[in-house]
């Protein structure tokens, strides 16, 4: 009985996959792992490298590639075998439905992009969704969350970083006094070595006391 259910579910999902892609796409390798190299977008070494360095399977990587390409079909070629240097500007990345309402979308794009300005290559794009997916461990998420909240990139979350974070999260509801008091309170509570700003260790120590952190810092991958 479990085998029948499994076969049934697998066939339904296969149908769903086919219907989702429709006829207008290039033939993409579908099905479970190891079903043949019919796709021509990446070489097999490239796909292996992606699979080894991110938390995604082959199918998910190809889906993400198509999402990336859908943002700007005229800029992104269908053939990545010779590693073209294509960077999508931040405006396109920030318009994705998963990110467009996130108050930190600009910081997320800046942290994961190579040039630090938010213009992302395919590698950066995959990296971003890999870290934000459910399979990334807590330490990795904590490291990147720290970088996201560190607006001036000095490896410490100082008071001005906290104020900017607070302003992104609440617009006009808190007065200036209240903003200042909240930031002081955060530093009071979390700063272990008393230097007036939060280092990565302080941040990680705080994460340990917030068990919801792992669950809250997931952005569900597109179409998955």
């Amino acid at each position: 009985m479990p085998c029948l259910t499994a076969a049934f579910c697998a066939s339904i999902s296969y149908l769903k996959y086919l219907l989702a892609f429709g006829c207008s796409r290039e033939p993409v390798c579908h099905g479970a792992a190891g079903m043949g190299n019919k796709q021509t977008i990446f070489t097999s070494q490239q796909l292996d490298a992606y699979q080894d360095c991110t938390y995604f399977t082959r199918k998910e990587i190809l889906r993400l590639f198509h999402r990336y390409r859908d943002l700007a079909p005229q800029l992104v070629p269908l053939d990545y075998t010779n590693q073209p240097d294509v960077r999508l500007p931040y405006e396109l990345i920030g318009s994705m439905p998963e990110l467009k309402d996130n108050p930190f979308r600009q910081r997320i794009a800046e942290v994961f992009s190579e040039d630090g300005e938010g213009n992302m290559t395919l590698d950066d794009f995959l990296d971003m969704f890999s870290v934000l997916s459910e399979m990334a461990p807590r330490d990795l998420k904590a490291y990147y969350a720290f970088k996201i909240y560190d607006f001036n990139n000095d490896d410490f979350i100082c008071k001005s970083d906290l104020e900017k974070t607070l302003n992104k999260l609440t617009r006009n509801e808190l007065t200036e006094d209240e903003v200042r008091m909240v930031c002081e309170k955060v530093i009071d509570e979390a700063d272990l070595d008393n230097d007036g700003r939060l280092s990565l260790e302080d941040f990680q120590h705080m994460i340990v006391r917030a068990p919801d952190f792992l669950r809250l810092h997931n952005t569900y991958c597109p179409d998955m």
């Binding site: 792992a33 509801e173 272990l192």
Partner: protein
């Protein structure tokens, strides 16, 4: 190893701010070349570290490296080339085999996703309403798994043999619609209830003893449930109630740790922003308020109001329980126990008790929330916990009085009393379901209409997680109690949970908004699992255990007819296996270990000693944490640090 990577990347970034040459900048003390050399050393160390690990750990480690993608790829390529140069077996073949094995495992893991029911729906809910509402639906799914498992084993081990070898039980009445509500009539002598089973030994190649099968299936299921609950509870406790040393005031962590990245809906994000602002304001005002100590008369007033509220709540609970007991033992109602099967009115009058119980479960929590408005608490979390405790006391006292009624009054009044108890549980579950539907319609839909059209100040109703979860726990307790008396009862529970999942989801999207105070969702989750274990499962288990151990089963129906207690079937079984020498050890274990009290005293003593040792270890670790914390502060004060304001320290004439 990872710490060095963090340091290295930060040092490289700092290096790029300053000019390439010269150590004229004081504290850095290292030139650019030296830093590059150190980076190279660290990288080689990392690569050799990775090479020495097993393949699976290695790839996990590579994926979790906190560096940009290109650097990760470089490390991966270096690791692969080092690995290649080390292996003796022809590299292509070995690497390909291991790689395809890894891909296969990953493919299996992702294929497993499709077998998980509701995977996409749950993601959608989490994206629109946040993680605390999602926890309700996950709890529902978890309960569904318990019931599904019970259904499968009961059906396979008890029902199928009974159906296949059944004596001719002809139903006394045809199917009328009332059966669905009362569970009697057509369903009465079927395998739905205890009375539909007989305890014969089925003659087959190894004889299949129905008595033992019935007993062991139910016992095994309850034991597995208990183990699973204890395991989940301890895991949840470990994750969510981490040692809280250091400053514990709970306000500021919200800023950095509580923003829900998984929400993608614009309205929901705006809503979360407003909530965060409100919570920050509240925590600020709490801090200010702590500084004002209340004077004595205020404190006495608050205390007396609290005591009054508690007395009222407990009084209501006790009153309701007494009312239910008197209703159940009412002579006019009790006459309907032994009615003829064609008497519809008498059958319908058995519905009175479940309706009353469901009305109490619906109305009294509303009364409790009204009562709690007269009190004031310093802490909104205390308010939530106290309301949960009161509701739990109410529901458990209702269930307790019902159990007492079923075990004390009913066996002396009804002929096939186990079937009667099974039917009562069935009726209670059906009416709980009907009132849940009514609650969704009136409680959420109408309140939404009223709140948005008529009385604007009420607003959209909040989705009350605590009340919904307690309803689920109550229904599950009933299901656990009813398994012994009605082995196929999980069918109803499974159907009910399925329907409730979809209805709640629709109602949530149309009518409700997520709760305002969603902080510490993980801790409340642990509390719910603990509640599922402690009053709910333990209570059901003790009731079933009492029935099996001490009550005389009815003599006309059921698998245990004729025995003194159902447990005697074990005695006769062990007596029967005493003879042949290869099974003698089972009898020996049973007789001398499980039945002797000394064994249990010894076990309890050993467990107490171990607990005491572990507690002492915990105390020691707490002290160690405090010492280390102090050491961090001392270390920072002593080492020279890079002062970002170093330019201000230069003499002015430079």
């Amino acid at each position: 190893m990872l710490r060095q990577i963090y340091d290295q990347s930060s040092r490289m970034r700092r290096m790029s701010v300053f000019p390439q040459h010269g150590a004229a900048l004081g504290h850095l003390g290292l030139s650019a070349n030296e830093i590059r050399q150190e980076v190279e050393n660290n990288t080689s160390e990392l690569v050799s570290d990775l090479v020495n690990q097993s393949a699976r750990a290695r790839f996990q480690a590579i994926r979790s490296l906190p560096m940009p993608f290109s650097e990760r790829k470089i490390i991966r390529n270096r690791v692969n080339s080092v690995k290649q140069s080390k292996t003796i077996i022809p590299t292509n073949c070995g690497q390909q085999v291991s790689r395809s094995f890894r891909r296969f495992r990953a493919g299996l893991a992702s294929a497993r996703q499709y077998l998980i029911i509701w995977h996409d729906t749950l993601k959608d809910i989490g994206g629109r309403f946040g993680t605390s509402v999602l926890s309700y639906f996950l709890f529902l799914k978890w309960l569904l798994k318990f019931n599904l498992f019970s259904l499968i084993i009961n059906f396979c081990f008890i029902t199928i043999p009974q159906i296949v070898h059944a004596p001719n039980i002809s139903s006394v009445t045809g199917f009328r619609g009332l059966e669905l509500l009362t569970g009697v009539g057509y369903f009465n002598q079927t395998v739905l209830y205890y009375g539909g089973y007989n305890g014969e030994v089925i003659v087959s190649k190894p004889g299949y003893n129905m008595q033992l099968a019935y007993f062991f299936t139910i016992a095994a299921y309850l034991v597995l449930c208990g183990v699973s609950l204890i395991y989940s509870m301890s895991r949840s406790f470990q994750k969510n109630f981490v040692l809280d040393t250091g400053p514990v005031s709970g306000g500021a962590w919200r800023l950095l740790c509580s923003w829900d990245f998984s929400v993608v809906n614009e309205k929901a994000i705006q809503y979360n922003k407003n909530n965060l602002a409100i919570q920050l304001k509240e925590s600020l005002s709490e801090r200010l308020q702590e500084k004002n100590k209340m004077d004595l008369s205020d404190r006495i007033k608050h205390l007396s109001l609290n005591v009054l509220a508690w007395l009222l709540s407990l009084g209501l609970a006790v009153g309701c329980s007494a009312g239910i007991y008197f209703l159940g033992t009412d002579p006019e109602l009790a006459f309907s126990f032994n009615h003829s099967p064609n008497d519809l009115t008498a059958e319908a009058s058995t519905l009175l008790l479940p309706v009353v119980v469901s009305i109490i479960n619906l109305i009294v929590p509303i009364l409790y929330s009204l009562i709690s408005k007269i009190e004031s608490y310093s802490n909104p979390r205390a308010k939530i916990y106290i309301s949960i405790v009161r509701n739990v006391i109410l529901k458990m006292s209702i269930l307790g009085i019902l159990c007492f009624y079923w075990l004390d009054f009913v066996p002396n009044s009804v002929s096939c009393w186990e079937s009667f108890v099974g039917q009562s549980v069935y009726r209670l579950l059906i009416f709980d379901f009907i009132f849940c539907l009514i609650g969704i319609f009136y409680g959420e839909f109408l309140l939404n209409v009223i709140g948005t059209r008529c009385i604007q100040s009420l607003g959209v109703p909040e989705f009350d997680i605590a009340r919904n979860v307690l309803d689920l726990i109550y229904a599950q307790t009933l299901a656990w109690i009813g398994i012994y008396f009605s082995p196929l009862l999980p069918v109803m529970q499974v159907l009910k949970l399925f329907i409730i999942f979809y209805l709640k989801k629709i109602s949530l999207s149309m009518n409700c908004q997520p709760p305002k105070h969603s902080g510490r969702a993980a801790q409340i989750q642990t509390v719910f699992i603990a509640l599922l274990f402690f009053p709910s499962f333990v209570g059901a288990l003790s009731m079933v255990a009492f029935t099996v151990w001490s009550l005389k089963p009815s003599s006309e129906c059921g698998p245990f007819q004729g025995l003194d207690t159902p447990f005697h079937t074990i005695f006769s079984w062990t007596a029967s296996i005493q003879g042949p020498s290869e099974t003698n050890w089972v009898w020996w274990i049973f007789e001398n270990i499980l039945r002797s009290e000394l064994f249990y005293y010894l076990i309890s003593l050993i467990i107490l000693v171990i607990t005491y040792f572990l507690w002492q270890i915990t105390e020691g670790r707490k002290q160690l944490i405090n010492t280390l914390r102090q050491q961090i502060v001392n270390d920072y004060d002593q080492t020279p640090h890079f002062n970002p304001n170093w330019m201000n320290t230069l003499p002015l004439d430079m």
